[in-house]
Point group: C2
Chain length 148, copies 2
């Protein structure tokens, strides 16, 4: 029941960003493409600080401010997704590697697992109908412990 999809070649996501910037009238700066490339080399979740450290280690000169700005753009063109687990730093991940999924977080270790259940779509439809709204995205997180 868990869906997966492959990461497309980097050229493809780069083209998506290029078209998006074009359409919105934003500048195609080298920083934006470098950041996208770095993000697409990361498997799993990362936060801004992770990204900052990675790019510094790669001897690339970036500021956290630019990382915050650029992730905002990448969110807007759906190249990444953002998760707010608890009150800590926001977690991001590229949105092509895995299909749609939600999260389970181990209370003891903080470890994150993923799952997907189609019935959530039925719930979404129910909510849209009863509250008379159009849902654009959601966040579902289960918290608990591993069974022995």
């Amino acid at each position: 029941m868990k869906t997966t999809s492959k990461t497309p070649p980097y050229e493809e996501v780069e083209a998506i960003l290029r078209d998006y910037l074009e359409k919105k009238g934003h500048r195609k700066t080298p920083e934006r493409f470098t950041i996208l490339k770095e993000i697409y080399s990361i498997d799993g979740h990362f936060d801004i600080e992770d990204l900052y450290v990675r790019m510094k280690n790669n001897k690339y000169r970036v500021s956290r401010a630019t990382l915050y700005n650029t992730t905002e753009l990448l969110l807007d063109c759906n190249l990444i997704v953002k998760h707010q687990f608890g009150h800590h730093s926001a977690q991001y991940e590229k949105s092509f590697q895995y299909g749609q999924h939600d999260h389970f977080i181990d209370i003891d270790t903080g470890e994150v697992s993923e799952f997907w259940d189609e019935r959530l779509e039925e719930i979404q439809k129910y909510v849209e109908d009863t509250l008379h709204v159009k849902i654009s995205h959601h966040s579902l997180v289960f918290y608990g412990k591993k069974l022995p």
Copy 2:
């Protein structure tokens, strides 16, 4: 399909806190009961700052630190629940007034609506079985816009 339940008399929740503090060996300070009483007079969501202002308006001398400490205790004995919507201040609500429910948040206005769909329990069971875990709580939030 939406479930509701009535707020029990204040004496009942006070007894729950009293028993909890007793069992845990924590002191039964007047602050803790006053804060509980204030919280149970609030309908809907509130954050620490809301609570602080309310108590100040009622001429009660509290510190934010004590509010943070006490809400931690009230969470632990299940007299309140905590929601982390976005990266902003945590929202709390007494856990007796409404039954189990989840949230829809209007992207434009920030307005919060509630709903309940039993199929979520089936999803929870599915996740427990496939990931081999025991789930203690969850957070489900849909984001979207009102239909015209």
